[in-house]
Amino acid sequence: MSDAGMSKIVKTMTGVCFPFILIFGLYIIVHGHLTPGGGFQGGAVVASACAMILIAYGSIWTMKKIKEKHLSIFESLGALMFISLAFFGIFLADGIFFDNFLVKGAFSFFGLFANTATGVADINTAGVIPLMNIAVGLKVIAGLFAIVLVMAYATHKIKEVDDQ
């Protein structure tokens, strides 16, 4: 991986592939309560797409576009969403940590039950589980991409120091 990125062919093909991988990963995250997968797996898919961008375009270009400071903000936001959804179980429902308060009736958005007759469920079922999937997915995307980005940029910097 060179610091200035790879050839024009690789850059073009990366740009073609990137949105499809992105859509696939976001689908895995959002449908985590219906199909195999979830926040961790879909987040890893999206983070690998971002790592592909990083390899094709180089760490300097990517670091100019997105700073790891903003990625850590997104990661902390995902962690806060997750833990606050867990605490809402205490304050809004029966006082149980990690209570699935959205299927209990009072807050019925996202609170439908899965259709057990056909085995096919709507996306707004399962209470807090899809929201927690989205929070964990945000956290995994930002976290893994921050790790890869910081390590690639640090490699470039170390090489720069060694050359001097």
Partner: protein, 96 residues
């Protein structure tokens, strides 16, 4: 011996005793009869039967990970957070 070490050892012994007692109280699983069939499996049968009516999720694995075992997912998220924080702290000085 330092009194802190003694207190910590006594505390650990008490915690271990509670954990062993709780393990003895937990329901049996994986118990087979003479023909090799499972006699009772209360935990997984409960989750298989009640997942859709209790959590509303079609995917039983996600229901276990995010609802029945939410603490486990919280721990995983904490591990990831710590890893990211550690990497960014290590490479912070190289940015200048």
């Amino acid at each position: 011996m330092n009194w802190r070490v003694t207190a910590g050892g006594v505390f650990l012994i008490i915690v271990a005793a509670f954990l062993i007692y709780a393990a003895l109280l937990s329901p049996t699983f994986g118990l087979k009869d003479s023909e090799g069939d499972y006699i009772e499996r209360p935990m997984d049968q409960h989750i298989i039967d009640e997942t859709q009516t209790q959590t509303g999720a079609d995917n039983g694995v996600t229901a276990v990970v995010f609802d029945y075992r939410g603490f486990d997912t919280l721990g995983e998220a904490t591990v990831l957070f710590t890893a990211v924080a550690g990497v960014i702290i290590i490479f912070r000085r190289l940015k200048k």
